[in-house]
Amino acid sequence: MSEELSFWRTYVFSTDHKTIAKQYLSLGLFWALVGGLTAYLMRWQLAYPDTEVPGWGFIAPDFYNMLVTMHGTIMVFFVAMPILLASFGNFLIPLMIGSRDMAFPRLNMLSFWVFSLASLTLLISFFVPGGAASAGWTGYPPLSAKAAYTGVNWGLNLWILALALEFASFLMGGVNFLTTTINLRAPGMTFFRLPLIVWMQITAAVLFMLSVGPLIAGAVMLLMDRVLGTTFYLPEGGGEPLLWQHLFWFFGHPEVYVILLPGLGIVLEIMPVFSRKPIFGYRPIIYSTIAAGMLSFIVWAHHQFLSGMDPRLAMPFSITTIIISVPFALIVFAMIATLWRASISFPPPMLFALGTLSIFILGGLTGIFNGSAPVDIYIHDTYFVVAHFHYTLFSATFFAGFAGLYFWFPKMFGRMMNEPLGKMHFWLTFIFFNAGFVPMHFVGLGGMMRRIANPMQYEFLQPLQPINTFITIASVLLLLSQIPFVVNFLWSLMRGQVAERNPWQANTLEWSAASPPPHGNFETVPAVYRSPYEYSSPEAAEDWLPQDRPLASPAAARQ
């Protein structure tokens, strides 16, 4: 099984799903730094407009637009997706279903290298004449369809190219995730014995693969408008600017769940382990996930209530949007019910999982305001929306992402992370996140528009400026709060306490492999006897019962 491989085959052109997961993780963390830098520059400009940003310089309005655009693009496509989907999905799916690798290991490698190419393209776009894309991460034409409107020519072309490459990469990843889960499950691993994060990952993969197509078509049209002079989105040539918005959001809304579901999946894995209790309502959670996935295909136009689309369309989309809260409410209730009469401990992964839950609740609830078409008339394109999607996506990407990292770090790297530093990281992040983003709701209700470089240009926003300053201070502190994590991550990587196979006494299959698992994962392919969350089961003396541990008693055979 484990023949000696050269350095290049082991670390660079690896086909091992665990190495590919780490590669995605490192690129994702790199982009998170860039994304954080853009956030810092924007926040400074908003708090102290047209002053010199410490460590940078002045920010011109078109540069600010570029920051807005690149912050969104980077955080959604180059941080959230590679970390939550590609990294955790790649690492966990084969291990959790008891497979030695992905179904198509070389396709997996190709997917990472295409993603690297996408990253390189996006990076280059910062340095071409005219600067990077500045038409918003949603790239609405006609602004994005003609270089003259933004003054950005190659930056925006490269932006489209980078997104196309990224989509290609995640399509390959999606094919792999789905085929692997469908066909490579260990004996006894039925669909209803899959850990919930696997369900979440494959639902996310289905959503991505079935929604991205129209946007790929739309991106081809946009690129042709820019390069070949076609007029798909230009009304002077008979085109329709609104078409892009439909194609974009037809993908864009499922995309939100592509990010959110793996995040929730991480929480669902971690909560039972540190509550020593089965997840409450395993099947209802799966059904809710599928229902939410299906509904997510018919809610997209809630991003366009005021786009000039037919007003009669608004109500059907408003209704589906608000109703999508039901499956998510069920998942949240199930998480809360898991805590009932549990035996809860609070190491860093559990703290971050609980942080995700409590923050996601607020993000979900503010979504109802946006989903209600009449309320959206006022709050659309204001900072209320910005606060809302940071509550949902920051919780999924960073809180859940950190939870997953603290939890699976011993499995990934064979060493434990430092607990006190982890707890400090959590509390600082939790406090400063809320300190920054709760007030943002109120700035939004005050009417402050998104994507403006200088709120002081508007009389009605001037009284809100102290809040803006406060948000900026909190955000800067939030960024600084990540220093304990960076220190902890790097230090534990080299000096952390060596991890045993199953440091958390968890049930799922990855914990029965070595830490870190060798190429090929398992000594022998495990056989699966039961569902993944049998904690405190009356059938076992300990309060855990791994999926692959046979029980001699007949009661166990019935499981």
């Binding site: 469908i182 079935l210 929604s211 197509g213 129209p214 329709e240 609104l242 078409l243 439909h246 037809f250 295909f297 018919i298 136009a301 689309m309 037919d310 009669r312 369309l313």
Partner: protein
Amino acid sequence: MMIGEQNRPNYFGIWMALLGLVAISIAASIVLPKSLALLLIFAVAIAKALLVALNYMHLKYEKLLLYIIAIVPVVIVIILLFALFPDFVFHR
């Protein structure tokens, strides 16, 4: 998968049928009034696509899972198509 010679579809015959259908749609576009012709042309296109998918892609020998994988995206595209109508077709 092995289809086996005995129940292998008549590949050549299906090709003839496809060509015949092309001829029908062209004839329709010349002879019939516009709206009727369009109806027939797209019915023929769907028939041709089904012939290719069922026989050449041998979906008719496959398990339910592959049918689902093939049909769900078609349904999604149809949803998208109808949702686009109010904004682009009826807006004048």
